[in-house]
Symmetry: C2
Subunit: 190 residues, 2 copies
DNA sequence: TCACTAGACTAACGCTTGTTAGTTTCTGAT
DNA sequence: ATCAGAAACTAACAAGCGTTAGTCTAGTGA
């Protein structure tokens, strides 16, 4: 998908890296320029504003998740299988964009025009997730516990992957997804 | 412990609330002053600097966790029981300070003098956590899976509690801890 | 009554912020 | 050889930042 590599893309990629380290607000356009080896004013030949960069990082990721969920929820799988696919989706997206995931998780509130749209996507995603869990409880695949706690528990771990994957790159995506599935779905008690 | 309610404490409490909403860097001293109903300069009758506020919020919480872990790890319990106690510790601290937990999770990198100290506390906490998991694997209480994935998975959920507890205050701390234990330890598969 | 203190205020500082305007430089195609 | 476009530059802006100095005011205890 994102294979074009214009100067603009390099800037956004570099920005995502800095945003992960210090957060959107603490990164200045001069910081970003220095990291790119140019002057701050030169950035504006490629992007419209600082906000523009944040929007690009967050919205593209949010839409990736939305798209993935769309496929999973309409697929012909049982609930546990769907949860497996969701885990794989998160591992996949996060592996390919660890930096951006930090902004998605921590800097979404600094979106301006696109804040409402982002919140809509997130709300829908969580609703789809919850429906899968509830459906799994109904069909006796999943324990009859508070479905929101189940979703929260799994989703928290998946949303934190961006912190953890960079430290564990010896583990490939498939192995990680498999390990996570075991722990998250089947528990850790022997 | 923290029952004194000086003007300084009110400022720190208000700051924590704002930091949760927008992050440390995006909150200005004028924002904080407005929230307190005073002028920015007046804040400095009570605190030394903006950094001072962050330090207070984060370090006190980090030390609470360290203290709790100290008690748990030296207690006479098996590994699963110790994990239960850790879950209860997080639920307890987070319930009593949802705002501060946001700073602990997201703004620790903006600590200056105290950054090293904070990192030491965090590293020790995670090491203790890992030792409990490893010990549980050895004693056949916990499944023989990657101990770091187990720790990461549980800890991610516990660290995200601050996002979730405020929305679910109808659930009391004990019930929440019990539900989380079930899901995190015993899994969600039926 | 008087001195002290807590806690507010106004005014201002030096610095940093995101951004704009206008210009120059390099590179590749005609 | 010329031109066009991409991408850098310098210089500067207005607004906002954390913080300081110095002052005023209301309430308390001696």
């Amino acid at each position: 998908m994102n294979v074009v590599n214009t100067r603009r893309d390099e800037i956004i990629k570099t920005a995502a890296k800095l945003f992960k380290e210090k957060g959107y607000s603490a990164v200045t356009m001069r910081d970003l320029a220095t990291a790119m080896g140019i002057k701050a004013a030169s950035l504006y030949n490629h992007i419209h504003s600082k906000q523009d960069i944040l929007k690009e990082i967050i919205i593209s990721l949010a839409e990736e998740f939305t798209h993935g969920m769309e496929i999973i929820k309409t697929s012909d799988n049982n609930s546990i299988q769907k949860l497996n696919l969701i885990i794989a989706l998160h591992v996949d997206i996060t592996t390919n964009n660890t930096y951006g995931m930090a902004s998605l998780n921590n800097d979404w509130m600094h979106l301006e025009e696109q804040l409402e749209y982002y919140l809509k996507l997130r709300k829908n995603y969580e609703q789809d997730f919850l429906n899968i869990v509830k459906s799994g409880i109904s069909s006796n695949e999943i324990i009859d516990s508070n479905p929101e706690i189940i979703m929260f528990s799994v989703l928290s771990t998946l949303r934190s992957l961006y912190l953890w994957i960079p430290k564990k790159d010896e583990l490939n995506a498939k192995d990680l997804a498999q390990n996570l599935t075991n722990v998250l779905i089947y528990g850790i008690n022997k």
